[in-house]
Protein backbone atom coordinates (compact mmCIF):
# COMPACT_ATOMS: atom_id res chain seq x y z
CA UNK A 1 0.00 0.00 0.00
CA UNK A 2 1.19 3.50 -0.73
CA UNK A 3 2.18 5.78 2.14
CA UNK A 4 -0.37 8.42 1.27
CA UNK A 5 -3.11 5.81 1.41
CA UNK A 6 -1.99 4.54 4.81
CA UNK A 7 -1.90 8.09 6.13
CA UNK A 8 -5.34 8.79 4.68
CA UNK A 9 -6.77 5.67 6.30
CA UNK A 10 -5.12 6.42 9.63
CA UNK A 11 -6.41 10.00 9.61
CA UNK A 12 -9.92 9.06 8.51
CA UNK A 13 -10.27 6.25 11.04
CA UNK A 14 -8.95 8.45 13.85
CA UNK A 15 -11.53 11.10 13.04
CA UNK A 16 -14.29 8.51 12.70
CA UNK A 17 -13.57 7.00 16.12
CA UNK A 18 -13.69 10.47 17.67
CA UNK A 19 -16.80 11.49 15.74
CA UNK A 20 -18.81 8.50 17.02
CA UNK A 21 -19.34 9.53 20.64
CA UNK A 22 -19.20 13.26 19.97
CA UNK A 23 -21.62 12.97 17.05
CA UNK A 24 -23.98 10.96 19.26
CA UNK A 25 -24.11 13.93 21.61
CA UNK A 26 -24.73 16.27 18.68
CA UNK A 27 -27.71 14.10 17.73
CA UNK A 28 -29.05 13.76 21.30
CA UNK A 29 -28.71 17.47 21.95
CA UNK A 30 -30.21 18.37 18.55
CA UNK A 31 -27.20 20.43 17.70
CA UNK A 32 -26.64 19.39 14.08
CA UNK A 33 -27.23 22.88 12.79
CA UNK A 34 -25.06 24.30 15.54
CA UNK A 35 -22.21 22.04 14.40
CA UNK A 36 -22.76 23.18 10.84
CA UNK A 37 -22.56 26.80 11.89
CA UNK A 38 -19.32 26.28 13.76
CA UNK A 39 -17.73 24.38 10.92
CA UNK A 40 -18.74 27.00 8.36
CA UNK A 41 -16.82 29.55 10.38
CA UNK A 42 -13.70 27.40 10.08
CA UNK A 43 -12.69 28.98 6.78
CA UNK A 44 -12.36 32.28 8.58
CA UNK A 45 -10.11 30.48 11.03
CA UNK A 46 -7.95 29.15 8.21
CA UNK A 47 -7.49 32.67 6.87
CA UNK A 48 -6.66 33.90 10.35
CA UNK A 49 -4.09 31.14 10.68
CA UNK A 50 -2.38 32.21 7.45
CA UNK A 51 -2.46 35.86 8.46
CA UNK A 52 -0.86 35.17 11.82
CA UNK A 53 1.49 32.56 10.45
CA UNK A 54 0.24 29.79 12.74
CA UNK A 55 -1.17 26.38 12.01
CA UNK A 56 -4.63 26.78 10.41
CA UNK A 57 -6.01 24.33 12.98
CA UNK A 58 -5.25 26.82 15.74
CA UNK A 59 -6.95 29.58 13.80
CA UNK A 60 -9.98 27.33 13.34
CA UNK A 61 -10.10 26.51 17.04
CA UNK A 62 -9.96 30.20 17.98
CA UNK A 63 -12.69 31.25 15.55
CA UNK A 64 -14.96 28.30 16.46
CA UNK A 65 -14.71 29.04 20.16
CA UNK A 66 -15.34 32.75 19.59
CA UNK A 67 -18.39 31.92 17.50
CA UNK A 68 -19.69 29.44 20.06
CA UNK A 69 -19.46 32.11 22.75
CA UNK A 70 -21.18 34.65 20.50
CA UNK A 71 -23.96 32.14 19.89
CA UNK A 72 -24.51 31.55 23.59
CA UNK A 73 -24.70 35.30 24.11
CA UNK A 74 -27.11 35.86 21.23
CA UNK A 75 -29.35 32.99 22.24
CA UNK A 76 -29.61 34.34 25.75
CA UNK A 77 -31.16 37.54 24.43
CA UNK A 78 -33.90 35.56 22.70
CA UNK A 79 -34.99 38.29 20.38
CA UNK A 80 -34.60 35.97 17.39
CA UNK A 81 -35.32 32.30 16.96
CA UNK A 82 -32.31 30.06 17.44
CA UNK A 83 -32.33 28.78 13.85
CA UNK A 84 -32.36 32.35 12.52
CA UNK A 85 -29.35 33.28 14.64
CA UNK A 86 -27.56 30.12 13.51
CA UNK A 87 -28.41 30.84 9.88
CA UNK A 88 -27.04 34.37 10.09
CA UNK A 89 -23.80 33.32 11.75
CA UNK A 90 -23.36 30.23 9.60
CA UNK A 91 -23.61 31.91 6.22
CA UNK A 92 -22.20 35.20 7.42
CA UNK A 93 -19.02 33.60 8.71
CA UNK A 94 -18.62 31.31 5.68
CA UNK A 95 -18.92 34.26 3.32
CA UNK A 96 -16.61 36.35 5.46
CA UNK A 97 -14.08 33.54 5.26
CA UNK A 98 -14.34 33.42 1.45
CA UNK A 99 -14.03 37.20 1.17
CA UNK A 100 -11.09 37.35 3.57
CA UNK A 101 -9.33 34.60 1.64
CA UNK A 102 -9.80 36.54 -1.60
CA UNK A 103 -8.11 39.56 -0.02
CA UNK A 104 -4.95 37.59 0.61
CA UNK A 105 -3.79 38.04 -2.98
CA UNK A 106 -0.34 36.65 -2.48
CA UNK A 107 -1.72 33.48 -0.99
CA UNK A 108 -2.58 30.61 -3.28
CA UNK A 109 -4.71 28.17 -1.33
CA UNK A 110 -6.70 25.28 -2.63
CA UNK A 111 -10.16 26.46 -1.63
CA UNK A 112 -11.78 23.19 -2.67
CA UNK A 113 -9.50 21.31 -0.30
CA UNK A 114 -10.84 23.31 2.62
CA UNK A 115 -14.45 23.16 1.54
CA UNK A 116 -14.59 19.47 0.71
CA UNK A 117 -11.47 18.01 2.24
CA UNK A 118 -8.33 16.51 0.76
CA UNK A 119 -7.84 13.28 2.60
CA UNK A 120 -5.26 11.89 0.20
CA UNK A 121 -2.86 14.74 0.96
CA UNK A 122 -2.70 14.10 4.71
CA UNK A 123 0.84 14.59 6.01
CA UNK A 124 2.60 12.95 8.94
CA UNK A 125 2.32 16.28 10.72
CA UNK A 126 -1.45 16.26 10.20
CA UNK A 127 -1.58 12.81 11.74
CA UNK A 128 0.19 14.04 14.83
CA UNK A 129 -2.38 16.82 15.15
CA UNK A 130 -5.30 14.49 14.59
CA UNK A 131 -4.17 11.88 17.09
CA UNK A 132 -3.04 14.24 19.83
CA UNK A 133 -6.14 16.42 19.44
CA UNK A 134 -8.32 13.35 19.24
CA UNK A 135 -6.85 11.89 22.41
CA UNK A 136 -7.47 15.14 24.26
CA UNK A 137 -11.05 15.31 23.00
CA UNK A 138 -11.86 11.68 23.80
CA UNK A 139 -10.34 11.94 27.27
CA UNK A 140 -12.31 15.09 27.97
CA UNK A 141 -15.49 13.47 26.75
CA UNK A 142 -14.91 10.36 28.86
CA UNK A 143 -14.35 12.45 31.99
CA UNK A 144 -17.50 14.51 31.42
CA UNK A 145 -19.59 11.65 30.05
CA UNK A 146 -22.09 11.10 32.88
CA UNK A 147 -22.59 14.79 33.56
CA UNK A 148 -22.95 15.66 29.88
CA UNK A 149 -25.61 12.97 29.58
CA UNK A 150 -27.42 14.40 32.60
CA UNK A 151 -27.33 17.91 31.13
CA UNK A 152 -28.57 16.51 27.81
CA UNK A 153 -31.53 14.81 29.52
CA UNK A 154 -32.56 17.81 31.62
CA UNK A 155 -30.64 20.95 32.49
CA UNK A 156 -32.83 21.90 35.45
CA UNK A 157 -32.39 18.53 37.12
CA UNK A 158 -28.65 18.69 36.50
CA UNK A 159 -28.54 22.14 38.04
CA UNK A 160 -30.48 21.07 41.13
CA UNK A 161 -28.01 18.21 41.54
CA UNK A 162 -25.28 20.82 41.68
CA UNK A 163 -23.73 20.32 38.25
CA UNK A 164 -22.07 23.33 36.58
CA UNK A 165 -24.43 23.30 33.60
CA UNK A 166 -23.07 26.34 31.77
CA UNK A 167 -19.49 25.14 32.13
CA UNK A 168 -20.47 21.71 30.81
CA UNK A 169 -22.19 23.22 27.79
CA UNK A 170 -19.14 25.34 27.10
CA UNK A 171 -16.87 22.32 27.45
CA UNK A 172 -18.99 20.46 24.92
CA UNK A 173 -18.72 23.34 22.46
CA UNK A 174 -14.96 23.34 22.89
CA UNK A 175 -14.88 19.64 22.08
CA UNK A 176 -16.90 20.26 18.92
CA UNK A 177 -14.55 23.07 17.94
CA UNK A 178 -11.59 20.76 18.45
CA UNK A 179 -13.11 18.07 16.26
CA UNK A 180 -13.91 20.56 13.51
CA UNK A 181 -10.36 21.83 13.56
CA UNK A 182 -8.82 18.39 13.14
CA UNK A 183 -11.48 16.91 10.84
CA UNK A 184 -11.41 19.76 8.36
CA UNK A 185 -8.64 18.18 6.33
CA UNK A 186 -10.57 14.91 5.89
CA UNK A 187 -14.02 15.90 4.69
CA UNK A 188 -13.80 19.68 4.47
CA UNK A 189 -15.75 22.27 6.41
CA UNK A 190 -18.95 21.83 4.44
CA UNK A 191 -19.19 18.12 5.26
CA UNK A 192 -17.85 17.81 8.80
CA UNK A 193 -21.27 17.73 10.44
CA UNK A 194 -22.26 14.76 8.31
CA UNK A 195 -19.38 12.75 9.72
CA UNK A 196 -20.67 13.59 13.18
CA UNK A 197 -24.36 12.90 12.76
CA UNK A 198 -24.76 10.25 10.05
CA UNK A 199 -22.91 7.35 11.77
CA UNK A 200 -24.60 8.23 15.08
CA UNK A 201 -28.03 8.35 13.49
CA UNK A 202 -27.35 5.03 11.76
CA UNK A 203 -26.30 3.44 15.05
CA UNK A 204 -29.40 4.51 16.99
CA UNK A 205 -31.68 1.68 15.87
CA UNK A 206 -29.29 -1.06 16.89
CA UNK A 207 -28.45 0.06 20.41
CA UNK A 208 -30.03 0.27 23.84
CA UNK A 209 -27.49 2.28 25.83
CA UNK A 210 -25.80 5.63 25.15
CA UNK A 211 -22.38 3.97 25.28
CA UNK A 212 -23.20 1.27 22.74
CA UNK A 213 -24.66 3.88 20.39
CA UNK A 214 -21.46 5.92 20.64
CA UNK A 215 -19.29 2.85 20.04
CA UNK A 216 -21.33 1.60 17.10
CA UNK A 217 -21.29 5.10 15.62
CA UNK A 218 -17.48 4.94 15.69
CA UNK A 219 -17.53 1.55 13.96
CA UNK A 220 -19.92 2.82 11.28
CA UNK A 221 -17.70 5.86 10.84
CA UNK A 222 -14.62 3.71 10.29
CA UNK A 223 -16.50 1.53 7.78
CA UNK A 224 -17.63 4.65 5.92
CA UNK A 225 -14.08 6.04 5.81
CA UNK A 226 -12.58 2.80 4.50
CA UNK A 227 -15.35 2.24 1.95
CA UNK A 228 -15.28 5.86 0.85
CA UNK A 229 -11.52 5.89 0.42
CA UNK A 230 -11.52 2.66 -1.56
CA UNK A 231 -14.27 3.99 -3.82
CA UNK A 232 -12.37 7.22 -4.22
CA UNK A 233 -9.23 5.38 -5.32
CA UNK A 234 -10.99 2.88 -7.54
CA UNK A 235 -13.12 5.32 -9.48
CA UNK A 236 -11.07 8.47 -8.98
CA UNK A 237 -13.75 10.22 -6.92
CA UNK A 238 -13.32 13.14 -4.49
CA UNK A 239 -12.35 11.66 -1.09
CA UNK A 240 -14.44 13.62 1.42
CA UNK A 241 -17.73 13.38 -0.47
CA UNK A 242 -17.12 9.65 -1.10
CA UNK A 243 -16.79 9.05 2.64
CA UNK A 244 -20.02 10.96 3.30
CA UNK A 245 -21.85 9.05 0.56
CA UNK A 246 -20.63 5.79 2.11
CA UNK A 247 -21.90 6.90 5.53
CA UNK A 248 -25.27 7.93 4.11
CA UNK A 249 -25.54 4.57 2.33
CA UNK A 250 -24.85 2.80 5.63
CA UNK A 251 -27.61 4.82 7.26
CA UNK A 252 -30.00 3.99 4.44
CA UNK A 253 -29.25 0.26 4.52
CA UNK A 254 -29.47 0.27 8.32
CA UNK A 255 -32.87 1.90 8.34
CA UNK A 256 -34.16 -0.74 5.89
CA UNK A 257 -33.23 -3.65 8.14
CA UNK A 258 -36.38 -4.73 9.95
CA UNK A 259 -36.12 -4.66 13.73
CA UNK A 260 -37.88 -6.88 16.19
CA UNK A 261 -40.62 -5.15 18.16
Amino acid sequence: MDDFLIRALAAGCGIAVLAGPLGSFVVWRRMAYFGDTLSHSALLGVTLGFLLGVNPMIGVMVVCVALALALVGLQRRRTLAADTVLGILSHGSLSLGLVALAFLETLRVDLMAYLFGDILSVTANDLVWIYSGGTVALTGLALLWRRLLAVTVDEDLARVEGMPVDALRLAFMLLIALVIAIAMKIVGILLITSLLIIPAAAARRFTRTPESMAALASVFGVVAVVAGLLASLTWDLPGGPSVVVAAASLFLVGSLIPMRG
Binding site: W28, R146, V153, D156, V160, E161, T209, P210
Partner: protein, 266 residues
Protein backbone atom coordinates in the same frame (compact mmCIF):
# COMPACT_ATOMS: atom_id res chain seq x y z
CA UNK B 1 -61.31 30.42 59.92
CA UNK B 2 -57.81 30.65 61.16
CA UNK B 3 -56.26 31.51 57.84
CA UNK B 4 -53.61 34.03 58.58
CA UNK B 5 -53.51 37.32 56.83
CA UNK B 6 -50.53 37.51 54.47
CA UNK B 7 -49.26 40.73 55.93
CA UNK B 8 -49.11 39.29 59.39
CA UNK B 9 -47.29 36.08 58.52
CA UNK B 10 -45.84 33.76 61.08
CA UNK B 11 -42.35 34.54 59.92
CA UNK B 12 -40.54 33.19 62.95
CA UNK B 13 -38.74 30.28 61.28
CA UNK B 14 -39.27 28.45 64.54
CA UNK B 15 -38.31 24.78 64.20
CA UNK B 16 -35.20 25.23 62.06
CA UNK B 17 -36.80 25.33 58.60
CA UNK B 18 -35.27 23.47 55.67
CA UNK B 19 -35.74 26.41 53.37
CA UNK B 20 -37.33 29.80 53.68
CA UNK B 21 -37.93 32.87 51.58
CA UNK B 22 -38.01 36.42 52.85
CA UNK B 23 -39.82 39.08 50.93
CA UNK B 24 -38.98 37.23 47.70
CA UNK B 25 -39.70 38.91 44.40
CA UNK B 26 -38.99 37.41 40.99
CA UNK B 27 -39.11 39.20 37.67
CA UNK B 28 -39.22 37.07 34.51
CA UNK B 29 -38.89 38.76 31.14
CA UNK B 30 -39.72 42.11 32.70
CA UNK B 31 -42.90 40.80 34.31
CA UNK B 32 -43.18 40.73 38.09
CA UNK B 33 -44.18 37.11 38.69
CA UNK B 34 -43.72 37.03 42.46
CA UNK B 35 -43.63 39.85 44.92
CA UNK B 36 -42.94 39.92 48.63
CA UNK B 37 -43.29 36.19 49.25
CA UNK B 38 -42.30 35.05 52.72
CA UNK B 39 -42.68 31.36 53.44
CA UNK B 40 -40.88 28.39 54.93
CA UNK B 41 -40.85 24.61 54.74
CA UNK B 42 -40.05 22.79 57.99
CA UNK B 43 -38.69 19.27 58.41
CA UNK B 44 -41.33 16.59 58.03
CA UNK B 45 -43.91 19.07 56.83
CA UNK B 46 -45.93 19.07 53.62
CA UNK B 47 -46.54 22.55 52.27
CA UNK B 48 -48.78 22.88 49.25
CA UNK B 49 -48.58 25.85 46.90
CA UNK B 50 -51.87 26.49 45.27
CA UNK B 51 -53.24 29.15 42.98
CA UNK B 52 -54.58 29.84 39.50
CA UNK B 53 -52.52 29.47 36.33
CA UNK B 54 -49.80 32.07 36.13
CA UNK B 55 -49.92 32.64 39.90
CA UNK B 56 -46.19 31.97 40.19
CA UNK B 57 -46.40 28.56 41.89
CA UNK B 58 -43.77 26.96 39.70
CA UNK B 59 -41.63 30.09 39.83
CA UNK B 60 -41.66 29.99 43.63
CA UNK B 61 -40.69 26.32 43.57
CA UNK B 62 -37.90 27.10 41.09
CA UNK B 63 -36.67 29.94 43.29
CA UNK B 64 -36.57 27.56 46.25
CA UNK B 65 -34.52 25.18 44.09
CA UNK B 66 -32.15 27.95 43.07
CA UNK B 67 -33.19 27.72 39.41
CA UNK B 68 -34.37 31.33 39.18
CA UNK B 69 -32.65 34.31 40.68
CA UNK B 70 -34.63 36.55 43.04
CA UNK B 71 -34.91 40.13 41.82
CA UNK B 72 -35.50 41.14 45.42
CA UNK B 73 -35.58 39.48 48.81
CA UNK B 74 -33.86 36.19 49.44
CA UNK B 75 -34.11 32.43 49.52
CA UNK B 76 -32.19 30.62 52.25
CA UNK B 77 -31.55 26.90 52.28
CA UNK B 78 -30.29 25.18 55.38
CA UNK B 79 -26.54 24.56 54.90
CA UNK B 80 -25.93 21.13 53.42
CA UNK B 81 -29.60 20.69 52.53
CA UNK B 82 -30.18 17.78 50.16
CA UNK B 83 -32.97 18.53 47.71
CA UNK B 84 -34.87 16.07 45.53
CA UNK B 85 -36.68 17.70 42.63
CA UNK B 86 -39.48 16.14 40.65
CA UNK B 87 -40.29 18.35 37.65
CA UNK B 88 -43.71 18.72 36.08
CA UNK B 89 -42.68 16.58 33.17
CA UNK B 90 -39.59 15.37 31.45
CA UNK B 91 -39.20 14.29 27.85
CA UNK B 92 -36.10 12.43 26.76
CA UNK B 93 -35.20 12.81 23.11
CA UNK B 94 -36.09 9.68 21.14
CA UNK B 95 -32.57 9.48 19.72
CA UNK B 96 -31.07 8.82 23.15
CA UNK B 97 -31.21 5.12 24.05
CA UNK B 98 -31.81 5.11 27.79
CA UNK B 99 -33.35 2.58 30.12
CA UNK B 100 -34.96 3.60 33.40
CA UNK B 101 -32.09 2.10 35.37
CA UNK B 102 -29.48 3.96 33.31
CA UNK B 103 -31.48 7.17 33.58
CA UNK B 104 -31.24 6.90 37.35
CA UNK B 105 -27.44 6.57 37.29
CA UNK B 106 -26.86 9.89 35.55
CA UNK B 107 -27.34 12.32 38.38
CA UNK B 108 -24.84 11.38 41.02
CA UNK B 109 -22.39 8.59 41.74
CA UNK B 110 -24.60 5.81 43.06
CA UNK B 111 -24.76 2.05 43.52
CA UNK B 112 -27.02 -0.57 41.92
CA UNK B 113 -28.42 -1.30 45.39
CA UNK B 114 -29.49 2.27 45.95
CA UNK B 115 -31.15 2.35 42.54
CA UNK B 116 -33.02 -0.85 43.29
CA UNK B 117 -34.21 0.62 46.60
CA UNK B 118 -35.38 3.84 44.95
CA UNK B 119 -37.19 1.86 42.25
CA UNK B 120 -38.96 -0.19 44.91
CA UNK B 121 -39.87 2.84 46.93
CA UNK B 122 -41.43 4.49 43.90
CA UNK B 123 -43.09 1.23 42.86
CA UNK B 124 -41.48 0.98 39.44
CA UNK B 125 -39.18 -2.03 39.82
CA UNK B 126 -40.76 -3.78 36.86
CA UNK B 127 -39.88 -0.81 34.62
CA UNK B 128 -36.15 -0.91 35.40
CA UNK B 129 -35.15 -2.12 31.95
CA UNK B 130 -37.77 -0.28 29.92
CA UNK B 131 -36.72 2.56 27.62
CA UNK B 132 -37.70 5.87 29.24
CA UNK B 133 -39.42 6.99 26.05
CA UNK B 134 -41.94 4.15 26.32
CA UNK B 135 -43.29 5.11 29.77
CA UNK B 136 -46.77 6.48 30.34
CA UNK B 137 -47.21 9.81 32.12
CA UNK B 138 -47.85 8.19 35.49
CA UNK B 139 -44.95 5.77 35.12
CA UNK B 140 -42.58 8.58 34.20
CA UNK B 141 -43.68 10.58 37.26
CA UNK B 142 -42.89 7.65 39.53
CA UNK B 143 -39.50 7.18 37.87
CA UNK B 144 -38.89 10.88 38.51
CA UNK B 145 -39.88 10.30 42.12
CA UNK B 146 -37.36 7.45 42.34
CA UNK B 147 -34.75 9.77 40.87
CA UNK B 148 -35.51 12.47 43.43
CA UNK B 149 -35.14 9.91 46.24
CA UNK B 150 -31.63 8.94 45.12
CA UNK B 151 -30.19 12.10 46.64
CA UNK B 152 -31.58 10.99 50.03
CA UNK B 153 -33.37 14.33 50.24
CA UNK B 154 -34.20 16.41 53.29
CA UNK B 155 -36.58 18.35 51.07
CA UNK B 156 -38.64 17.07 48.17
CA UNK B 157 -39.94 19.61 45.67
CA UNK B 158 -42.79 18.19 43.61
CA UNK B 159 -44.06 20.38 40.80
CA UNK B 160 -47.62 19.37 39.90
CA UNK B 161 -46.89 15.66 40.20
CA UNK B 162 -50.43 14.81 39.13
CA UNK B 163 -50.23 16.54 35.77
CA UNK B 164 -50.47 14.28 32.73
CA UNK B 165 -51.44 11.41 35.02
CA UNK B 166 -54.85 9.75 34.94
CA UNK B 167 -56.99 9.41 38.07
CA UNK B 168 -55.81 5.91 38.85
CA UNK B 169 -52.21 6.95 38.39
CA UNK B 170 -52.74 9.97 40.63
CA UNK B 171 -53.99 7.86 43.52
CA UNK B 172 -51.05 5.52 43.16
CA UNK B 173 -48.56 8.36 42.87
CA UNK B 174 -49.85 10.17 45.94
CA UNK B 175 -49.87 6.95 47.91
CA UNK B 176 -46.19 6.60 47.03
CA UNK B 177 -45.43 10.17 48.03
CA UNK B 178 -47.29 9.65 51.32
CA UNK B 179 -45.26 6.50 51.91
CA UNK B 180 -42.01 8.34 51.25
CA UNK B 181 -42.99 11.10 53.60
CA UNK B 182 -43.83 8.75 56.45
CA UNK B 183 -40.68 6.69 56.05
CA UNK B 184 -38.17 9.41 55.35
CA UNK B 185 -39.59 12.23 57.40
CA UNK B 186 -38.49 14.72 54.75
CA UNK B 187 -40.13 18.05 54.13
CA UNK B 188 -42.21 18.32 50.95
CA UNK B 189 -43.00 21.38 48.91
CA UNK B 190 -45.86 20.44 46.62
CA UNK B 191 -47.13 22.56 43.75
CA UNK B 192 -50.72 21.82 42.83
CA UNK B 193 -53.60 23.33 40.99
CA UNK B 194 -56.00 20.94 42.67
CA UNK B 195 -56.28 21.18 46.44
CA UNK B 196 -58.85 18.41 46.53
CA UNK B 197 -56.30 15.78 45.50
CA UNK B 198 -53.63 16.81 47.96
CA UNK B 199 -55.78 18.12 50.80
CA UNK B 200 -55.56 15.11 53.09
CA UNK B 201 -51.80 14.95 52.74
CA UNK B 202 -51.03 18.61 53.33
CA UNK B 203 -50.01 20.27 56.59
CA UNK B 204 -50.14 23.80 55.30
CA UNK B 205 -51.51 25.49 52.22
CA UNK B 206 -50.09 28.64 50.72
CA UNK B 207 -52.41 30.36 48.33
CA UNK B 208 -50.47 32.22 45.74
CA UNK B 209 -51.42 34.78 43.15
CA UNK B 210 -48.25 36.69 42.47
CA UNK B 211 -48.08 37.24 46.20
CA UNK B 212 -49.16 35.16 49.18
CA UNK B 213 -52.93 35.64 49.34
CA UNK B 214 -53.29 33.62 52.48
CA UNK B 215 -52.00 30.55 54.16
CA UNK B 216 -53.34 28.12 56.67
CA UNK B 217 -54.18 24.55 57.50
CA UNK B 218 -56.36 22.79 54.94
CA UNK B 219 -58.78 21.66 57.67
CA UNK B 220 -59.61 25.25 58.38
CA UNK B 221 -60.67 25.58 54.83
CA UNK B 222 -62.63 22.36 54.80
CA UNK B 223 -64.61 23.24 57.95
CA UNK B 224 -66.09 26.20 56.25
CA UNK B 225 -69.83 25.70 55.49
CA UNK B 226 -69.36 26.66 51.90
CA UNK B 227 -66.61 24.11 51.46
CA UNK B 228 -68.95 21.30 50.46
CA UNK B 229 -70.90 23.48 48.10
CA UNK B 230 -67.69 24.27 46.32
CA UNK B 231 -65.67 21.14 46.49
CA UNK B 232 -68.12 18.63 45.15
CA UNK B 233 -67.83 19.65 41.56
CA UNK B 234 -65.42 22.45 41.07
CA UNK B 235 -61.77 23.13 40.74
CA UNK B 236 -60.49 22.78 44.23
CA UNK B 237 -57.97 25.53 43.82
CA UNK B 238 -60.76 27.97 44.56
CA UNK B 239 -61.32 26.55 48.00
CA UNK B 240 -58.81 28.68 49.78
CA UNK B 241 -60.43 31.79 48.45
CA UNK B 242 -63.37 31.08 50.72
CA UNK B 243 -62.47 33.67 53.26
CA UNK B 244 -62.77 36.45 50.74
CA UNK B 245 -65.70 38.72 50.69
CA UNK B 246 -64.94 40.40 47.44
CA UNK B 247 -66.66 37.82 45.30
CA UNK B 248 -69.85 35.80 45.29
CA UNK B 249 -70.33 32.05 45.43
CA UNK B 250 -72.60 30.93 42.69
CA UNK B 251 -73.94 27.40 43.27
CA UNK B 252 -73.96 26.71 39.57
CA UNK B 253 -70.63 28.17 38.57
CA UNK B 254 -68.55 28.01 41.68
CA UNK B 255 -66.79 31.17 42.59
CA UNK B 256 -67.62 34.30 40.69
CA UNK B 257 -64.55 36.33 41.24
CA UNK B 258 -64.47 40.00 41.95
CA UNK B 259 -61.86 42.23 40.40
CA UNK B 260 -58.16 41.69 40.78
CA UNK B 261 -58.28 38.02 39.87
CA UNK B 262 -60.37 37.21 42.88
CA UNK B 263 -57.50 37.36 45.26
CA UNK B 264 -57.60 38.81 48.65
CA UNK B 265 -56.59 42.21 49.92
CA UNK B 266 -53.90 43.01 47.29
Amino acid sequence: MSITHPHAPTTSPAPDPLVWTENLSVRLGGRLVLSGVTMAVNPGEVVTLIGPNGAGKTTLARAVLGLVRPSDGRVTRRPGLRVGYMPQKLTVDATLPLTVRRFLTLWRPTTPERITTALEEAGVTRLADAAVQTLSGGEMQRVLLARALLSDPDLLVLDEPDQAVDVHGQAELFARIEHVRRHRRCGILLVSHDLHTVMARTDRVICLNGHVCCHGRPEDVSRHPEYHALFGRHAAELAVYLHHHDHAHDPERGVVSGQDGGCCHG
